[in-house]
């Protein structure tokens, strides 16, 4: 009934100040919702992206036994192909799967560097440089020099690690490691690049070297400690997992290797999924708090307009129309407030998305093994803006049922009351 809509609209301007305060309350809470959602998205996205890039790929294939002792980075449970055929053949067969874009072998091992002062423990990552450049952010984080080249005795290290060692790009460094046979070996490398990463792991603990070099010095020809599968996007993981498992089973390695989706290798991502659900309830709660302002206002407006509502009833307007009238009045406040909040929240999110929020100090106590970037960039997305807007508009309108029912329950005899 457009007449009721028109009337509700005009009524809003009757109490401009009150309407304004209500709209501000809604707008503020919706703004917070947009921003908080963008922030949480940013947090999750960066955590998931770092985890995928530097730990798990979309799917990670490792030895069953390796899984138990991953913290030790043991070399005696490698991924070395099917029935001794070697790694390359295995990579070829996995690459044949339609959804697999890249198969990335990595050889991760513990190593030591002895300085005058102390014994520095660190992790060596033997990699195919061009694959890493294509798959990870490492190119952006290489602030000096270049990535290692296959066949060369070269390493790339994090800035904090280099500072600890008192070395720089161009220097030589001798790295000690236990080989797959348990003997200690020492090899001298040239440092060709420096990484500056917000990840503690990359900045302080890791050095990159060419995969072939790592295989050679550790006596692990044609082996890796893990194989990462990369798909077009991570949503494909659930459908890709069984295919990969089938390939392994067909080649008689179904028992030996573990195939893990990226979510299975991080307890943090599971935690964040739970947190996201909890946050969604918190958003509703925030909007409900703002609704209290609207409800208070409308209850008073209903009280003020008792006679008018009675008159409309006397003229034959049914209670459901009166209910509708006030629902529309509250709903318009909800829509306008939510719109303002959603727009300003989006602007705020986009602004902070440029600058980021730095938690470096707060996360100092975190272990390097959590790939958490301390600088969080909220993600702006249309979905969040729409979500917050719809949430605000709907919750406010529903909340207005309380005062609207009060109005609808008024008797038409109110019109005849004196005073």
């Amino acid at each position: 009934m457009p007449f009721v809509l028109k009337l509700a609209l005009k009524n809003l301007f009757r109490h401009r100040l009150r309407t304004f305060v209500s709209v501000v309350a809604i707008a503020f809470s919706v703004l917070i919702v947009v921003f908080a959602k963008g922030y949480v998205d940013g947090l999750i996205e960066s955590t998931v992206a770092d985890h995928i890039q530097y730990n798990s790929g979309h799917i990670k294939i490792i030895d069953q036994q390796y899984h138990q002792q991953e913290r030790l980075l043991p070399l005696n449970y490698p991924v070395d192909g099917f029935a001794g055929e070697g790694l390359d053949e295995m990579i070829t067969r996995l690459s044949a799967l339609t959804d697999v874009e890249m198969v990335i072998p990595r050889l991760k091992f513990a190593a030591l560097i002895s300085t005058d002062e102390e014994l520095v423990t660190l992790y060596g990552w033997g990699v195919n440089p061009e694959q890493e450049l294509a798959f990870t952010q490492i190119e952006k984080e290489l602030v000096e020099g270049r990535m290692v080249r296959p066949g060369q005795r070269e390493v790339v290290m994090g800035s904090a690690l280099l500072a600890k060692l008192g070395l720089g790009v161009g220097d030589k460094v001798t790295i000690l490691a236990n080989t797959a046979y348990g003997s200690l070996t020492g090899v001298t490398f040239t440092i060709v690049g420096r990484i500056l990463s917000s990840l503690k792991m990359l900045n302080e603990f890791v050095f990159y070297l060419p995969l072939d070099q790592a295989q050679r010095i550790l006596f692990m020809e044609s082996q890796a400690t893990e194989l990462l599968l990369v798909s077009k996007n991570r949503e494909l993981v659930p459908q890709l997992l069984p295919q990969v498992k089938q390939v392994l089973a067909e080649n008689g390695a179904g028992e030996r290797y573990l195939v893990l989706g990226y979510k299975e290798t991080s307890d943090l991502i599971a935690l964040m999924d739970v947190a996201e659900v909890i946050y969604n309830y918190i958003y509703v709660f925030l909007v409900l708090l703002a609704c209290i302002v609207v409800i208070n206002t409308l209850i008073m407006i209903v009280a003020e307009r008792r006679k008018e509502i009675g008159m409309m009833g006397a003229l034959g307007l049914e209670p459901k129309d009166i209910l509708l009238l006030f629902l529309i009045e509250g709903g318009i406040m909800g829509v306008i407030g939510s719109l303002l909040g959603a727009v300003s929240g989006t602007i705020l999110t986009r602004y902070v998305a440029q600058t980021g929020i730095d938690y470096t100090a707060a996360l100092a106590g975190f272990s390097e093994k959590h790939l958490i970037s301390p600088i969080i960039y909220p993600i702006y997305s249309v979905e969040n803006t729409i979500f917050a807007f719809v949430l605000g508009a709907i919750v406010v309108t529903i909340a207005c049922l309380i005062p609207a029912r009060r109005a609808a329950k008024l008797e038409p005899t109110e019109a005849m009351r004196e005073g």
């Binding site: 007449f3 009337l7 005009k10 009524n11 301007f13 009757r14 006679k307 008018e308 009675g310 008159m311 009833g313 006397a314 003229l315 034959g316 307007l317 049914e318 209670p319 008797e411 038409p412 005899t413 019109a415 005849m416 004196e418």
Partner: protein, 235 residues
């Protein structure tokens, strides 16, 4: 057939634990085309009686028959529909919607009835506003009108849907005597031209003189029923 018939109507309000009888047995018949006033002191049950006649409320006991329909059998929704088409209201404090123009306030009532085309409705509203003497003031809001003008809008609103009955609660209480007379002249004119039944309550003795039938209410009973020709029927 009488337009309205009340038989043994009582109304008791519950105020906490105390029962307050507002009407204590009213018998009344109103014919089509009457121009009747109800008067009596404050607290006499006058407003309650108007509520009953206007189908705003149901009696505690007794029957009310309006245009052949027994009100006791109707639901609230049924009552609303009955009022929508058949009864117009004029209130002491006008009760116009302040955010709407004079035209829109009148339009509000006719829209509720429905069943007419937009053009018909528009013509009807313009016509009735002209009839009550408000031609040219259609686009003013209540805040921009004088008391008498506001009450004319209210009369137009009551009459626009061509109801069988118009009920006016102290229509002149907030007006000076000259304006009061003007308003009553308008009501009388409409009564004569359209044959609409008018029932109005008042305190003002001069207003009463316009009525052709005068009902006095005291302590929840009709104590006097005087016709314009002077004949008196005691109850």
């Amino acid at each position: 057939m009488a337009l309205l018939e009340l038989k043994g109507v009582t109304k008791i309000y519950q105020q906490g634990k105390i029962e307050v009888p507002a009407l204590r047995g009213i018998d009344l018949t109103v014919e089509q085309g009457e121009f009747t006033t109800i008067f009596g002191p404050s607290g006499s049950g006058k407003t309650t009686l108007l509520n009953m006649i206007g189908c705003l409320d149901k009696p505690t006991s007794g029957t009310i028959i309006f245009a052949g329909q027994e009100l006791g059998r109707l639901t609230k929704k049924g009552l609303a529909q009955l009022r929508r088409c058949n009864i117009g209201f004029i209130f002491q404090s006008y009760n116009l919607i302040p955010v709407l123009t004079a035209y829109e306030n009148v339009e509000f009532a006719i829209r509720l009835v429905g069943g007419r085309s937009k053009r018909e409705m528009h013509e009807k509203v313009m016509q009735i506003l002209a009839d009550v003497g408000l031609a040219g003031l259609e686009n003013r809001k209540p805040g921009e009108l004088s008391g008498g003008q506001k009450q004319r809008v209210a009369i137009a609103r009551a009459l626009v849907k061509e109801p069988k009955l118009v009920l006016a609660d102290e229509p002149t209480a907030n007006l000076d005597s000259k304006t009061s007379e003007e308003v009553l002249e308008v009501m009388l004119k409409m009564n004569q031209e359209l044959g609409t039944t008018f029932i109005f309550s008042t305190h003002d003795p001069r207003v009463m003189t316009y009525a052709r039938r005068r009902l006095e209410v005291r302590d929840g009973l009709i104590t006097q029923d005087t016709r314009g020709d002077g004949a008196s029927v005691s109850h």
